[in-house]
Amino acid sequence: MDYQLELTNVAKHYRDFIAVDNVDLQIKKGEIISLLGSSGCGKTTTLRMIAGLIDPTRGTIRIQGQNMNGVPPHKRDISMVFQNYALFPHLSVYENIVYGLKMRKIRDKKVLMERAREMMDIVQLSGVENRLPRELSGGQQQRVSLARAMIVEPKVMLFDEPLSNLDAKLRERTRVEIRNLLKRMNVTAIYVTHDQEEALTISDRIAVMNKGKIEQITVPTELYTKPATKFIAGFVGHANFFEGTVQHVDGDRILVKSKGGHLIQAVVPGASQLSFGKEVTLAIRPENILAGGAGENRPNLVSGTVTARIYLGSTVRYLVDAGEGKEIEIDLQTKHLVDCGEGDTIHFSLDENNLILVDR
């Protein structure tokens, strides 16, 4: 299989600090991959290595099968949206946007203007083409930098948090536009973001980074339901964790004794490879915890004291002290509210089919 972009064992060290650690990534032509991760985990560094702005300490980067090590950025046929926009301060918006085209030897004024107009419509910038970057708002500047990168149709497009400065509505619209445009141009893209929702909507696959490593690459639907590690379960959405030791294995069904002393039953695929006494961590989403059931013969029944009740609109989140300093989050639909306030005891059960095995 020929990949459009292929990273093999790529690492970047700053003295003894490891910013990016053995990253492997294969991206097909036209595919959009999100890089999701907390601040400082090495996302920008990875993009800069792909762009050729910094050299990897080790490993190879291939674009269309060609080894890019030592190839300067302007010969890689890529484009990039910078986290800090990096617009050319002395050039007008229009000149900024067509810069990449001019560098690709497109000289025809008509063509340049046609493409610029199209791009400015997409990012909703029409009317400011003559202004200098410093005469624009932060969000407008960001859109100029987006337009500047997308107007050239490169082999690989790199986005470093391109929508971080837009308001929620505009961000939602623009990301749809970006995705449509990328798909129409059939351009391979890496899209860095902090925003999970953005990652989930814009990309074909999501790579979650943590401390310089890619912890999991998967399609958006699986990231939430099947997080591979504890970090991902906690990073993408909310999760409660139960650490414990395996007591019993029966097919996909396991029994775990948690450190808090609860016995938890779970149905997890691949459980049969676990053995007795193995330390595991189970995760469960707040919305998969069912309230009530005191006295019933439900599995995984736990009780605790409500310490806080947070109204979130469509749901209400309860923070529950389940003993041993264990805090559990429970989400309840507002219409199914149970009559519980702070300090009350609440009973709840963990849905055995929605327990996730992380950190095997």
Binding site: A51, L53, F88, P89, H90, G100, R117, E129, N130
Partner: protein
Amino acid sequence: MRREKDTWSYVNIWYLIIPLAYVTFLFLIPIFKMIYMSFFEFQGVGKALGVFTWHNYARFLMDPYYWKVLGLTVGLSFLSAVICAVMGYPVAYHLCRVNAKAKHILTALSILPLWVPITVRLFGLMSLVETGTLLAVELGLVYCGLPYMIMILTGPIGNVNRSVEEASYVCGAGFWTTFFRITFPLTIPGLVSGFMLVFALNTAAFVVPVILGNGKIITMTTLIQQQATYIYDWGFAASISVIFLIVSMIISNSGKLYDLWQARKAARSEKLLRTAVRGEGENL
């Protein structure tokens, strides 16, 4: 280029009295006295001034020799400022691109000549070139101007955001294209002020033409000195000074012409683009 005016300031206006008084006594009064003196026949040191006359000016303006001196002064200074700009720019560029530690060391090295008194430096130079030649004077001017040029240029070059250059590379521009389209245009205002400073310093240079010109190369400054201290014609010396002052003022303010030109160019291209991009007219 529009500049917003500050409407308030931290500085109490009365503090300005001190520098103002300083400037008045040491600059304005002597200069007006000099201008006054330039219109009278000089009768000798300590004696009353003679009658009002235009003669001092006429004498300078009518004699091609003096025009040549003026031309030589401006020409040598201009050339030296150009050479300083051409030689100083790459140095300043590299100073801004090395790591912080190397930058400290290299900056110190490049301004090292300024630590040595100028006469000492020039006597050193005398051992290398034949004095009394244009080459010697020009070398001296460049030698004195270069550290200033480098220091001034490190400001604007250092201020060019690196990620802007990176953006240019990523857009497909190589090093030189990036340099000429991005880095250089962004540093032109700094280059103009560096140029103006070196140019002004050079026209006002006195020690260089005295030591390296060795009496054979006469510039405006040495001409004034000759007239004032050897010939004792203070009236003529004063009129030369006034002419020199006016020429210097014109030249050092010509940097503003650049601003003006930029503003006009921006306005013109904006108009063109507005009609074109909006599709109101296709005649570009």
